[in-house]
Symmetry: C2
Subunit: 315 residues, 2 copies
């Protein structure tokens, strides 16, 4: 009987659950709304239902599920399978998610941070296949990061390593939600891009919902709007400063850029590369492949599956 795993990507918006072979082939996938506001009890129940559904599908296919991996946003104690806290789930305080799932599912469950899971997914079956050292930057609403060294996630002493969106780029720059000023996230995220465009227009939406979206800024730039073009070029430069730092620090084989901002790739990447060339050491800069993510929305479940396989000692 063929052995498979289940990878879960528990996002603030979507809950994705995939049945994945030990070779990294997605055999079935399901997506539904997370409904984070319903509280942890209901969400955990929904997680269990989704996992059980994939278990049934596996049985129908004549396969046996050997482990489950879950990627969740926030601070995760990977060793204990605890969600310490999560920006998307305010009532999750030291939630023993591994334990809650294992007592019903009766399979080994591994919990991982969502950005780390996405990084591992890209390394296992995405842009970084065969690559040992890889840094993932997800440019979404915020900027997340995952560090893969020797094909494994570097978690750090508290499981909080890889907060790459909170490198200081402009010491006296924009105030970030994390308490710092001038974080990469404040310029290279979708939100940061919208703010830069609003700054360029001379409008301010501080404290209000912005009237424009990042997708509109990209479209304006594609249409040749000089302000929007400059916003995207400047964003590319700031991203380049951050990546140049990561290159000088890690000398990695690859940097993968994921998240929704990746859609605007041609609008910023030349400026990113130019800045890297200007700022990073020549040999490691030439070595590092800077590429867009390949798995897109499947990176999280794929990485959760890889986590499950690593946890089960299979990978």
């Amino acid at each position: 009987m063929s052995r498979v795993v289940i990878g879960v990507d528990l996002g603030g918006t979507n809950l994705r659950t995939s049945l994945i072979s030990s070779e990294g082939v997605i055999l079935d996938k399901h997506k539904e709304a997370t409904r984070a506001s319903e509280g942890w009890g209901k969400i955990v129940n929904r997680l269990i239902q989704n996992i059980e559904r994939q278990q049934e599908i596996a049985i129908q296919k004549g396969m046996s599920v050997v482990a489950v991996g879950v990627g969740a946003p926030g601070v995760i104690r990977v060793d204990k399978g605890i969600v310490v806290k999560s920006p998307n789930f305010p009532d999750w305080n030291n939630l023993p998610l591994k334990h809650e799932l294992e007592k019903v599912i009766r399979l080994p469950v591994m919990i991982e941070n969502d950005a780390n899971a996405a990084a591992l997914g890209e390394q296992w079956r995405g842009a970084g296949m065969g690559i040992g050292s890889m840094i993932l930057l997800t440019l979404g609403t915020g900027v997340g990061g995952g560090i893969v060294l020797d094909k494994k996630i570097w978690h750090g002493a508290d499981g909080m390593a890889g907060e790459l969106g909170h490198m200081t780029i402009i010491p006296d720059g924009r105030k970030c939600g994390c308490g710092n000023s001038g974080c990469l996230e404040m310029y290279a995220s979708a939100r940061g891009i919208v703010q830069s465009y609003e700054d360029a227009l001379g409008v301010s939406t501080t404290g209000m919902q912005s009237a424009i979206t990042s997708a509109q800024v990209y479209q304006e730039a594609r249409n040749g709007n000089a302000r929007a073009v400059k916003v995207m070029n400047d964003m590319g430069c700031i991203l380049g400063i951050g990546i140049a730092n990561l290159i000088n620090i890690f000398n990695p084989e690859m940097v993968v850029i994921g998240g929704g901002v990746r859609e605007a790739w041609p609008l910023f990447i030349d400026f990113t590369r130019m800045e890297i060339k200007k700022r990073a050491f020549e040999v490691p800069a030439a070595r590092t492949h800077i590429v867009p993510s390949k798995l897109g929305d499947d990176a999280g479940t794929m990485g959760a599956a890889a986590t499950a396989l690593q946890g089960a000692g299979w990978n």
Copy 2:
């Protein structure tokens, strides 16, 4: 017969050679001038003489040397034992140092970058004893770095990881010799401190040998000279931005600060800690011990010895 190793710290100024037990006790040490300008042939011969002298001392003590480790400045191919290039030894281009030494010494020789060796030394028998993840910053003429993860040096794809002095702190700041602008090294090194003091005085020595030394700046600050005090405070803040980045990236257990600037510790460390508190995530910031190096001038030979032991499969 007790087994020992020899650790060599080949600096631009001094050549240090120590006989070190497998428990990390220095049994004998010797220091002499490197005389870098004499060219690689003479320096390699002197290296061999120093190693052979320690071998003889070991024999007199009834001990047997089982391996040699050498820390050298510059880009090192650790796997092949080649010095690719070195700022201190302009005629060392792809020098197969391991091979050159092994053919005479007839012992396994491991080559490591000097900052990495110092980091490993501090982790093995210095400030970071028992610590798994540790970042070393050496604030000397320049700023060097070494990254210890899971008790091993992270070398990166080309052996060039850990160039922590070349993180960008001030994107449009001082022009650095590496080609970048605003590198940590331009502010937190002895040279950077002198430049900041000259800037504060309104004198410029660009292209000239500076008339003042970093030690004089520290002394002025200790004497209460307001300009010198401010220079040291500002240097502390900039160092804090760099360390906050490293904390958000690595979530390490410890950051060790070595190099000559460490002598001025009380003049900058409060500002460094304040900046870290302001900029890094709370949990990893509270976790990270920020400490001065403990081994001082012995860090390099101690780490070279650790490299030799790791290479020989003993550690």
